[in-house]
């Protein structure tokens, strides 16, 4: 097999040669590879380094900055670094239950092929949680689209395709979609953002790690799932390239094809394998195949355990004839996972996948099969036919590489200030139900608050008293404040949303969606956003347990998306009866605003107030007119119940996220919440909204409700 010539070539020659074979590695990186190997790389090696050293896999320009984020805390079991983070949920019957959470972006694929891109985003994040030994119980998504109001616009096609993709995948695998948000802003017209979050439950002593266990020398490497095909070749490198409209067609081949039906069966079969391994107290390694395909997964799982590997590509079942070894090794065919198993357990595990759950019957060529073995020496070797197509030092392949890029003073982004008063029918204020009602929010029968019914979703762990809440934050309308302040606000948004349903915030995840890090202004935004996240998290004494960085979010024009640090927050309940109602309850009550920057510990104050039975309902307050947040509490009432009226006491603008608390007696507000709490509105039986300004007409809540529901229904209904 010919090698890719590096040694003795000029920079210009190398640059041209790399571009010619679709490799995104820079000249200095190519030279480093040749130097490290002491020879020119084979074709397979070239593509392997291309995938492993892409931003997508290596975080080469962000990793050193991400160290600033707090990642430890009393409830944190596993922080960032593995496929997913793990945080304690609580104890029940002497067992410690943990939440496993992962948060990723699938922005580029979703922009190019919205349905498949978004669906495979869900598929990937679900595997990240599954491979920690967890049962996957919830998903969420944060979506950012361009202007969708024009029927002919490409962005409308992108947005509807993304929603369809998420819905078709999540619904089929039977994992409820319980939280998230969606915003529309011209800044996302060339590049939508699709952030997906998955959450699983595992008992603490049953966590499976994504590494070859101690003493696993000679153990079997078992590939499970869909037959390997040519789809998704170049996926990792592709994500690290800025999008150019004319390349969109060519890029389509890098997008993977989802198969949620097969995933449904693989998930259930894997739960059975978990049971089998636990019964026999067998320790194994389990990891999902994502970026870099078989190569990326096997190299990382073995390197993490301090081992090498030998992989026989001839053992990989393919669904297309004549696939070149680089495609088999590195292509990102979906719906695949990988086990490191002691040989005495292998036959039983293969039996579960291949016979009991009959993978080969479910999808042509799907199966579980041994494809290699763990090696004591730290070589990473791949064989294909009679040839050795890859033979490299495993740490060199997977080790941390770093780009120190120049920073510029952060330029004020060119996003204009929103008009102060938005009508409820603005797409970013309007009901998102038309999107989210396409998601199954209640499969598993454990949903307490379904998506869209409150600012956070709430789920119960059946047969225990444990429950959790999940939210996302990162309103792109805050980008004009600068990346640092917007990131800080994103943390507060997510945290207050979780508090608004009565949960105690316990951990955060983040996904940093930014432009090209090689452009100093964009890079500066990324770095200051990390500062903002770190500060807010430290203030709140919360840790980030999982995260992801998505760079190069820009179109051909070179215009990057608005700085988008998207944050999710997990909250827990000591008892699910602590869940707070988001809907107004009384026709003679008072609404107090608790500002998010109050000196008060909001969660404690809320807990005390609740203990006295003083809290009737609680809503999340989005920065902007408080009246709109009050209205959302009215909209949350059941459709058939008598509409409660709202009379605003003042026309306040919240400059930070907060909570709006409904209490029965006026003097209770200050008594419970102190000086920072302000009386914003009172309720009455009229069913009418009355603003505090003379300029405001009285409008019936019904009419406002219709105006709030209509805009997105026209587009997504």
């Amino acid at each position: 097999m010919p090698n890719f010539g590096i040694i003795g070539k000029s920079e210009a020659e190398l640059s041209a040669a790399a571009a010619g074979v679709g490799v995104a590695l820079r000249v200095d990186e190519l030279q480093r590879i040749a130097h490290g190997l002491g020879r020119d790389p084979t074709t397979v090696e070239l593509y392997a380094f291309d995938a492993q050293w892409s931003e997508h896999c290596s975080y080469k320009s962000s990793r050193h900055h991400l160290r600033k984020l707090p990642t430890q805390g009393p409830d944190v079991v596993i922080g960032p670094g593995q496929d997913a983070g793990v945080v304690r949920l609580g104890e029940w019957n002497g067992e410690r239950y943990c939440i496993v959470i992962a948060h990723e972006s699938h922005n580029h694929p979703s922009q190019v092929v919205p349905f498949e891109g978004a669906a495979t985003g869900v598929g990937g994040i679900v595997r990240d949680v599954l491979c920690m030994g967890a049962e996957v119980v919830a998903i969420a998504d944060a979506l950012r689209f361009g202007n969708v109001t024009d029927v002919e616009s490409h962005q409308r096609y992108v947005a509807t395709g993304v929603v369809d993709g998420i819905s078709s995948y999540g619904n089929a695998i039977g994992v409820p979609n319980i939280a998230g948000d969606a915003y529309f802003d011209d800044g996302f017209s060339d590049n939508c953002l699709v952030n997906v979050i998955a959450l699983g439950i595992v008992k603490e002593h049953q966590i499976i790690e994504s590494k070859a266990p101690p003493g696993s020398e000679g153990w079997d490497i078992v590939l499970v799932g869909k037959a390997t095909d040519a789809s998704g070749f170049g996926g990792a490198a592709f994500s690290s390239l800025a999008l150019d409209a004319k390349d969109a067609q060519a890029n389509k081949s890098a997008v993977q094809v989802p198969d949620p039906f097969l995933k449904n069966v693989i998930m259930r079969a894997s739960y059975r394998v978990f049971e089998y391994l636990r019964e026999r107290e067998i320790f194994a390694g389990f990891k999902d195949l994502g970026a870099g395909g078989i190569m990326g997964c096997t190299a990382e799982i073995c390197a993490a355990g301090g081992y090498g590997a030998i992989i026989d590509l001839d053992e990989v079942v393919t669904s297309q004839e004549g696939l070149p070894p680089a495609v088999i090794a590195i292509g990102e065919t979906q719906e695949r996972l990988l086990w490191i198993l002691p040989p005495h357990a292998t036959a039983d595990v293969l039996q579960v996948y291949n016979r009991e759950f009959s993978l080969p019957e479910v999808s042509k060529g799907a199966c579980a099969r041994v494809i290699g073995a763990v090696q004591a020496n730290k070589r990473y070797i791949m064989r294909f036919g009679k040839e050795r197509v890859m033979d490299v030092d495993i740490d060199f392949l997977t080790g941390a590489i770093k780009d120190e890029l120049p920073l510029a003073n952060e330029a004020q982004a060119s996003v204009g200030r929103e008009p102060v008063v938005q009508a409820v029918s603005h797409p970013n204020r309007a009901s998102r139900d038309p999107l989210f009602k396409q998601y199954d929010a209640v499969v598993r029968g454990a949903t307490v608050i379904a998506r869209g019914h409150a600012a956070a979703g709430v789920m119960m762990i059946p047969n225990t008293g444990l429950a959790f809440a999940l939210s996302t934050g990162g309103n792109p309308g805050h980008a004009w404040l600068g990346a640092e302040a917007a990131a800080e606000l994103a943390v507060h948004e997510a945290v207050l949303k979780v508090m608004s349903v009565g949960a105690r915030p316990v951990a955060l995840t983040d996904c940093l969606n930014f432009g090209n890090p090689k452009k100093p202004a964009h890079y500066a935004q990324l770095v200051s956003a990390i500062d903002g996240l770190a500060r807010a998290a430290r203030e709140l004494n919360l840790a980030f347990v999982s995260g992801n960085v998505s760079l190069y979010n820009e179109g051909a024009s070179g215009k990057a998306v608005p700085a988008s640090a998207i944050v999710s927050c997990i909250g827990t309940f000591a008892d699910f009866s602590e869940v707070l109602n988001p809907a107004l309850q009384s026709t003679r009550s008072f609404l107090f605003l608790l500002p998010g920057d109050s000196k008060l510990d909001i969660f404690d104050a809320l807990t005390r107030a609740r203990a006295k039975g003083a809290v009737l309902a609680c809503g999340y307050v989005e920065p902007g007119p408080v009246s709109l947040s009050a209205l959302r509490m009215a909209f949350a009432q059941d459709d058939r119940s008598q509409r409660i009226g709202i009379r605003m006491e003042r026309s306040a603008l919240a400059d930070r996220p907060g909570l709006l608390v409904e209490v029965q007696q006026r003097d209770l507000g200050r008594e419970l919440f102190g000086e920072d709490a302000t009386l914003e509105a009172r309720t009455d039986p009229s069913g009418i909204f009355v603003g505090a300004d003379a300029a405001f007409d009285s409008v019936s809540i019904e009419e406002l409700l219709a105006a709030w529901r209509a805009p997105l229904a026209k587009i997504f209904g």
């Binding site: 619904n171 499969v443 029968g445 307490v448 058939r640």
Partner: protein
């Protein structure tokens, strides 16, 4: 000896665990039976087909599953008078298998739960279903009061009852229309129907009344934690208690 109930798991089923949980909490002796164990199904006294996407809805929702080995046992059992309940995708399977409304030969469907109208898209929405037949007409509803109102979640892309005018006539006049969609106050109108279903149909039964196909999921609103703010005291669990009662009388 207690009657034993099988909860069937086809490849692609996704609601088996909560359906089993609801049955167990209603004190039904139930267990999951997986497709690779189809041969054991004959030993059970009743069958529950849960929601999901059996065989990925290939060809049509329920079409492949209706011809599956597991369904052979269900058809045989139904013909012997065993109770059979299909929820959501399970309901689609029962219509494709011709067991419900059961007005034609086996596996020659006379109606279908098909693509929602007008959008053609999946809808996830909290609903109420109202008993539209005399409770005794169907073994599974016999334990309910007349006009019982049960909360549930519609969560499907294909839940609209469709069929020829003649077949729809047969359904309404033959007492097959077991549940219709309703509002929380029990009133019935088009606005209560989430999917454009003909006759406002949410569930159908067969002529013998031992088979029921219901589209929305009562098991997803069956526990107090599913409706923390509800004040009307209604629960999807009522439906499973009625199933349990029917089983005792079978």
């Amino acid at each position: 000896m207690n009657a034993k109930v099988a909860v069937l798991v086809y490849p692609g089923t996704n609601s088996e665990n909560e359906t089993l949980r609801a049955l167990l909490d209603a004190e039904v002796d139930a267990e999951l039976v997986h497709w690779s164990n189809a041969a054991t199904l004959a030993n059970f006294d009743a069958y529950v087909l849960p929601g999901g996407f059996a065989y990925e809805d290939r060809i049509r929702a329920g079409a492949i599953a209706a011809h599956d080995r597991m369904t052979d046992a269900v058809i045989e059992g139904a013909q012997k008078g065993k109770m059979v309940l299909g929820i959501c995708n399970g309901a689609q399977v029962l219509l494709e298998a011709g067991l419900v409304p059961g007005t034609g030969p086996v596996r020659r469907p006379t109606a279908a739960f098909t693509k929602n109208a007008p959008s053609g898209k999946f809808v996830c929405k909290h609903v109420y279903v109202k008993l539209n037949i005399a409770p005794q007409r169907c073994a599974i509803t016999a334990g309910l009061p007349g006009e019982a109102l049960i909360p549930a979640w519609a969560a499907h892309g294909e839940g609209r009852l469709a069929g020829s005018a003649d077949h729809l006539d047969e359904i309404s006049h033959g007492g097959h229309l077991a549940f219709v969609y309703a509002h929380a106050d029990g009133s019935v109108d088009d606005a209560a129907v989430p999917n454009g279903s003909a006759l406002g149909a949410a569930a159908l039964t067969n002529s013998q009344g031992n088979v029921l196909a219901i589209m929305p999921h009562p098991e997803r609103d069956a526990w107090t934690f599913n409706h923390p703010f509800s004040r009307d005291g209604r629960s999807g669990m009522t439906f499973f208690h009625s199933f349990a009662k029917g089983l005792k009388q079978q």
